[in-house]
Symmetry: C3
Subunit: 268 residues, 3 copies
Amino acid sequence: VQRHPVIALLTDFGEDDFFVASLKGVIVSINPEARVIDITHRIPSYEISVGSFILRAVYKYFPEKTIFLVIVDPGVGSSRRILLMKSKKHYFIAPDNGVLSGVLVQEQDVAIREITNTKYFLSDTSRTFEGRDKMAPAASWLSLDIPIEEFGPKTIQVKRAVEYETEFDGNEISGRILYEDKFGNLITNLSGDIVEEFLSKSKDNRFIIRAGNTEVLSFLSSYSDVEKGNFLCLIGSLGLLEIAVREGSAAKKLKMKTGDKIIIRRKV
Amino acid sequence: VQRHPVIALLTDFGEDDFFVASLKGVIVSINPEARVIDITHRIPSYEISVGSFILRAVYKYFPEKTIFLVIVDPGVGSSRRILLMKSKKHYFIAPDNGVLSGVLVQEQDVAIREITNTKYFLSDTSRTFEGRDKMAPAASWLSLDIPIEEFGPKTIQVKRAVEYETEFDGNEISGRILYEDKFGNLITNLSGDIVEEFLSKSKDNRFIIRAGNTEVLSFLSSYSDVEKGNFLCLIGSLGLLEIAVREGSAAKKLKMKTGDKIIIRRKV
Amino acid sequence: VQRHPVIALLTDFGEDDFFVASLKGVIVSINPEARVIDITHRIPSYEISVGSFILRAVYKYFPEKTIFLVIVDPGVGSSRRILLMKSKKHYFIAPDNGVLSGVLVQEQDVAIREITNTKYFLSDTSRTFEGRDKMAPAASWLSLDIPIEEFGPKTIQVKRAVEYETEFDGNEISGRILYEDKFGNLITNLSGDIVEEFLSKSKDNRFIIRAGNTEVLSFLSSYSDVEKGNFLCLIGSLGLLEIAVREGSAAKKLKMKTGDKIIIRRKV
């Protein structure tokens, strides 16, 4: 049995209510050694794609064998399944609604079970709070080294969200804004590798990045490379193209939001 | 001495300030083994009844011997007492202002002490932050298995909040909204047992639930049993009647709030 | 090696994003025994002085050897240094931007290192999230009892914020509002000792405290000493003069904010 198994929580439950504390109580009742870490509980209600993005952004930084309990679950109580996914290094428990898509893009080699074994549920299960009654207890039992085969049958087909793709059009590539962070930085789906490869073929490294009606001219590597209040683009800490304003909000200044288009045109 | 004694915090301190961290620092200074779990710190300032509701909603899910430190304390620094209550499975430390009412409704067999022994306080105690200076240290000492008799004299009379009662009127019962959760679900004081017993005597299981000016027609068991945006009633995860809108806010749609009346009329 | 080394986090990262969870994942990956405690992540973006105030308010309540990881870092990615400071009882890791000023006012005997040894960083370091890539791993290695000399060269000169000073003018002293807490209490920079010494020389203990255009007449020791809704002054839990309204917001009622002036005039 592990000494300090980590169970990391990612939900849309907010922090005002009894939801998150119920999960934690259930977890430490089953395994007092479990170490519960909050990722965030502030996923906007029912926003599966935001949950998927945040999970993808953090999971690699967690120790081997960490169990991620991911509850963004608009279909609670319906026939949607509850999944237990094992990747090379981690475990994930989540409803089958696409919230694991961000991880599935990164992890090829996964084993997936549908959690059906009522032995690992609370004895009374509600149909409105399966996080507390089914998913949290399953996560805690899993942290006690119960083999994944015990939780239910193997499954292969799972729901995946439609992900934005990078579009290539001659000397232009375009992507979308995936996420606006707390500082107003706009994180796109354009990976640093693709952007750098694309720009390496521009003439004298000249290019234009168009975000809404604004041309963001400087492509730099740190916020502090421009003056306060100025725009810049950079490959951010997630390896993705970000549009930022030093000590300001690019989201507010550009009036842009998730899903909006970003275009890079190279000069040749 | 317990290996991982759980101290669960429930306060109206918010998360911006130095309050909560001070509690945690004090607790782990006295007992480095203590495991601090946040229930919530977002009880609206001074709202004893909300604190009582949340505590009641979660405490049963915590392990035996959990110590609940409940600080919603508009009378801080006054002569209001600080209580240590032992129920069959748990401990509670709180001001004597009714915040333990929700637990007292559920737990008949309790022993209560007034915490007065300065040995278990910080050496300097302020009159404005007794949570840090008296309650947190007492909780942490208690987690080191100090017997409750040590903390101060026995007491019997404690303050209880006035609770809403279910009203019966022939073929009508009525209750009140106790709580609006993050998703806009309206949780009432009507227990599932009472509602089901009452409805079992209706003709052909026909009835009307009136919330404000709206008749909520469907009585179901899961949000997913109706289409997105539709109303439903159900017995929720706390065993209480809830009014909900699938993937929407019943509170907003009905313009109802805590204390408002809900009426169920059965057809006979 | 310590059994439960405490690493306390204080940042302006908010709770919505992937930032804080990344820090925690990195920390427990390096030292599974580390106990991570959140102070707050709700320092307003880039507000070094607020971070400094909160740190000063809480650090003394934490156990010996606690490592404070303080990330309010508008200069991330620039040449600003990352500091490791050892005081008599605690450790602090923070950017060199003045955020440790509040501690430095209290702690004379400190040893400071600049963290430069890449051995204690993640192998890939971004220039936009040095909290995750440099500071969090350094904190976690430090919790494994790596000597501070290992992290980088000794340094003496560090940035300090300009602190407000108490102004003396005959029978008047004045100070400034440092902080507005969640309850609307206005915490000033006037220390209890100075105020009490000053007032001890007034005639019959008569004086006026002027906050904006309002005279706050009562100087008491607990919120509960006045009726609900009334003003009072007191020496609060941080040993500083506070202006409060019982169960109300002094900040709102006085329309005052951080930096505004408070004057005490004694009658002689």
